[in-house]
């Protein structure tokens, strides 16, 4: 069964540092997403990406966040200057059409 692969599985970073979370979506999928889940809270939408550009983003996805699909296979989420409140599980997802998601296993980001 095809999988969405996320690396690293855990990342600890100092406040103010930049982090890049990496995802390899399923190869024939066209829509790509990042979500986050703060411990004990809801899964929250961050951004969707289609046709090499951001198609939708939430109010959480401010100027500190950016996404890239640098080489046709990877899909990255960059947080420029991490804050304590950025600590969460970050999930990448992909789909062939809107809503038919496959999620990755997530990256647990801890900002200290």
């Amino acid at each position: 069964e095809p999988e969405v692969t996320q690396t690293p599985s855990h990342q600890v970073t100092q406040m103010g540092q930049e982090v890049i979370l990496r995802c390899v979506p399923i190869s024939n999928h066209l829509y790509f997403y990042w979500y986050r889940q703060i411990l004990g809270q809801k899964v929250e939408f961050l951004v969707s990406f289609y046709n090499n550009e951001i198609s939708e983003k939430s109010e959480i996805f401010d100027d500190q966040f950016s996404v890239e699909r640098p080489d046709g296979s990877n899909f990255t989420l960059k947080i420029r200057s991490t804050k304590l409140e950025d600590s969460a599980m970050y999930f990448c997802a992909s789909s062939r059409q809107p809503y038919g998601y496959t999620f990755g296993s997530g990256t647990r980001l801890t900002v200290v």
Binding site: Y35, K42, F45, S58, Y99, Y101, T102, F103, G106
Partner: protein, 114 residues
């Protein structure tokens, strides 16, 4: 603001029992999805319901979409320990487009004891 409220928040039952969990909203959704999430893993899609009144079955799991498309239920027959997990409902959100973003409920944490 679209919200999905799930109940109960926690459910602990014995193996073999039946259970129903609920997902409710004051908003109409074009579709709803149910996911199951294990600790430390991403949500796994179980089913998508699209038509008001629709019933879908996945082995011992029965999913229903309300006639008004504002609510959904998940019924598990003869629960097994392998059904333990967090059950999430999700529906299309709106951030100005229709490119697939979802809003999620907080989930029902199910524990099935042997």
């Amino acid at each position: 603001t679209q919200l999905l409220e799930q109940s109960p928040q926690f459910l602990s039952i014995q193996e073999g029992e039946n259970l129903t969990v609920y997902c409710n909203s004051s908003s109409v959704f074009s579709s709803l999805q149910w996911y199951r999430q294990e600790p430390g893993e991403g949500p796994v899609l179980l089913v998508t319901v699209v038509t008001g009144g629709e019933v879908k079955k996945l082995k011992r799991l029965t999913f229903q979409f309300g006639d008004a498309r504002k609510d959904s239920s998940l019924h598990i027959t003869a629960a097994q320990t392998g059904d333990t997990g967090l059950y999430l409902c999700a529906g299309p959100g709106t951030y100005g487009g229709s490119q697939g973003n979802l809003i999620f409920g907080k989930g029902t944490k199910l524990s099935v004891k042997p």
